[in-house]
């Protein structure tokens, strides 16, 4: 082995070779706020998954005598809603649909928007121009308006809600994907890969994806809380989820008139939305900082 000045200097700092993601993980774990947020988010997800086992009562079972019982009533720790159903159980079950409507559209948009953006970014030229211009048209609508417009046109229902939210999120994700891919594409290791004779598909798979999916994914996670709030907003307007399902936005809608009778009860579903949204936001922020450190 040739002994060079370089290698001797390096001997002093020999450490086990660490992958990029492992160092991201280490940095993330040092950020207390982000870890806290992550735990809360994880807790909420677990609550949603195990809802039928955790909830004390049936969320759809209501007794009109008990309607709008205040918080702390015997047998109804968080009160009862306008149809006499146990609030605690409905809130716990509500996590399922609310998280579902928050995560699924973003996931699908990540897949579709990511693919479109990466393709446009790598291929460049007129493919890129046309794709981005078409996306610009959708981007020209404020997202709330677009979601409501599509939902409003299609009508209420979970599937329609999912569809409209997915469409709303595809353009921003595609934009980020295109921008990241374009900046990666200019780097010399892509040129070197092209000079090796590899096909475009292979280059994308082996060289582009690994470097590009990370930032796109982090951006997508920052959209989860937006999606949740938007989905709950749709239900709040009477689109999206329909009764008698338990979903936080829908609950806010149906309890609206109760604010004069049981104000704090009516506000409870919003607390859940807020809690989920803020923990996902901080989680995503923490992830972004952990990935952002310059080498």
């Amino acid at each position: 082995m040739a002994v060079t000045a370089d290698s001797i200097a390096q001997l002093a700092t020999v450490e086990k070779s660490r992958g990029y993601w492992r160092s991201v993980g280490a940095r993330f774990l040092r950020d207390k706020v982000a870890v806290c947020a992550g735990l809360v988010a994880a807790g909420l997800i677990l609550m949603a998954i195990f809802a039928p086992w955790i909830a004390p009562a049936d969320p759809l079972d209501g007794s009109m005598i008990k309607r709008l019982s205040p918080i702390g009533t015997e047998g109804y720790p968080l009160g009862a809603d306008e149809l006499g159903r146990d609030m605690l159980s409905r809130l716990i079950h509500g996590a399922r649909l609310s998280l579902f409507m928050g995560v699924v559209p973003v996931l699908i948009a990540f897949a579709i928007g990511g693919a479109i953006g990466i393709a446009a970014g790598y291929l460049g030229g007129w493919v890129n121009t046309i794709t981005m211009r078409v996306l610009d048209v959708l981007y020209a609508f404020p997202s709330v308006l677009l979601a409501i417009a599509i939902s409003g046109a299609l009508g209420a229902g979970i599937l329609n809600g999912l569809l409209s939210l997915t469409v709303v999120f595809i353009p921003p994700i595609a934009r980020v994907a295109e921008s990241v891919t374009t900046s990666v594409r200019k780097l010399e290791y892509i040129e070197a890969a092209q000079a090796s004779g590899a096909s475009s598909l292979r280059i994308v798979r082996d060289h582009v994806l690994g470097n590009v999916l990370g930032p796109i994914f982090v951006y997508a996670t920052s959209l989860i809380s937006v999606s949740m709030i938007l989905a709950a907003g749709l239900s709040f307007l009477g689109l999206g989820v329909s009764p008698p399902n338990a979903e936080w936005g829908l609950m806010l809608n149906t309890l609206r008139n109760a604010i004069y009778v049981q104000p704090w009860l009516a506000a409870l579903p919003g607390v859940m939305i807020f809690l989920t949204s803020i923990s996902f936001n901080m989680l995503s922020d923490g992830l972004r900082s952990a990935m952002d450190v310059k080498q």
């Binding site: 082995m1 040739a2 060079t4 000045a5 370089d6 290698s7 200097a9 390096q10 020999v14 070779s17 660490r18 992958g19 990029y20 780097l187 010399e188 290791y189 040129e191 070197a192 890969a193 092209q194 000079a195 090796s196 004779g197 590899a198 292979r202 082996d206 060289h207 690994g210 470097n211 080498q295």
Partner: protein, 324 residues
């Protein structure tokens, strides 16, 4: 005359720089560049920033498609007579930015093994080959193979890049400012490595650099470029001792020297390098040339052969008034 292993024929490459219609701006990066490369020789390419060296390098390696003109390998036109894939395993390139040349998510051994695996070599064998190459360029595969680009120094990374180019068993390697970004001592080591490899494997190099000393040290012939055109080309020693183009003279005069007898009192080159978007008419160098005369402002000088493979594109050579 033996067939040159690589030859460029009237390469032209222009880039758009914005503007529409009449206001369209075009960067004339490479304008009618031709040269030949004999097997086993090293051609140095020098010139200031913006002269088209890097663009020419990429045209040569087929990373860019020329607007007109072509590249031939062993006499065969790349594309029609020689499939691109086969060409790729014969001609490779090492870039200036050693860090940007490596995928930050790939280990060094995988980076070197990628090339062979693209050409059908099974993974295990490609890895073994990569290990051998890392060893050859001076990096212990056990220590460096599993590392990532950010864990290596500049010199080490460039060695990996060289190993990566060698993995194809190429005949020609284009080195685009490959040592320019390294510290001087490291630069010397990498140059030595390159020269050893050249001897061992009979490689042909195109060595692009702005450092005239290094180029002289490593090259058999040297090509001087200015604003997208070839100003002069010839055997290294001849070019350095008897330059026949005012630009070459100026470049050589501008080289700093430790010899107090060779102090420069005046800057040999006047003015700023003009814009490749709007090159001067006639000889592109005439606006900064101390010896410019009559035809220089209007007629583009044709390459004039001065014997022994020495060619210069300057009106002074074809006019009888030029003193030897």
């Amino acid at each position: 005359m033996k067939t040159p292993i690589l030859s460029a024929h009237n390469l032209v490459k222009h880039f758009n720089a914005g503007g529409f219609g009449a206001a369209r701006k075009v960067v004339r990066a490479v304008d009618d560049v031709s040269f030949e490369l004999a097997r086993g020789e090293t051609l140095g390419v020098v010139g200031e920033s913006g002269c088209g060296k890097s663009t020419t390098a990429r045209l040569l390696v087929q990373l860019l498609t020329p607007d007109s003109g072509g590249v031939r390998y062993d006499g065969k036109v790349v594309g029609p007579d020689m499939p691109l894939r086969a060409f790729r395993s014969k001609v490779q390139m090492v870039f200036q930015d050693s860090f940007a040349s490596l995928n930050p998510r790939m280990t060094m051994i995988d980076a070197v093994a990628f090339g062979p695996s693209v050409h059908g070599v099974p993974k295990a064998e490609a890895r073994r080959k990569a290990q051998g190459l890392l060893e050859r360029v001076g990096l212990d595969p056990a220590r460096f193979g599993g590392r990532y680009a950010h864990e290596l120094s500049g010199g080490q990374r460039q060695r990996v890049n060289i190993a990566r180019a060698l993995a194809f068993d190429p005949q020609v390697i284009v080195l685009d400012e490959a040592v320019s970004a390294l510290d001087k001592s490291v630069e010397a080591q990498v140059l030595n490595l390159l020269m050893d490899l050249r001897r061992e494997r009979g490689l042909t190099y195109v060595f692009i650099s702005h450092d005239l000393n290094v180029v002289r040290h490593i090259s058999d012939r040297v090509m001087v470029m200015y604003l997208g055109e070839v100003a002069e080309i010839g055997p290294a020693e001849r070019l350095y001792s008897e330059p026949r183009h005012p630009y070459t003279e100026a470049l050589l005069a501008a080289m700093p020297s430790l010899d107090p007898d060779r102090r420069t009192l005046e800057a040999p080159l006047a003015g700023d390098p003009p814009n490749p978007i709007d090159p001067p008419p006639g000889c592109r160098f005439h606006t900064r040339c101390a010896s410019a005369f009559g035809p220089c402002a209007s007629k583009v000088p044709a390459p004039h052969s001065l014997g022994g493979g020495h060619v210069a594109a300057c009106h002074l050579n074809s006019s009888k008034e030029h003193a030897a």
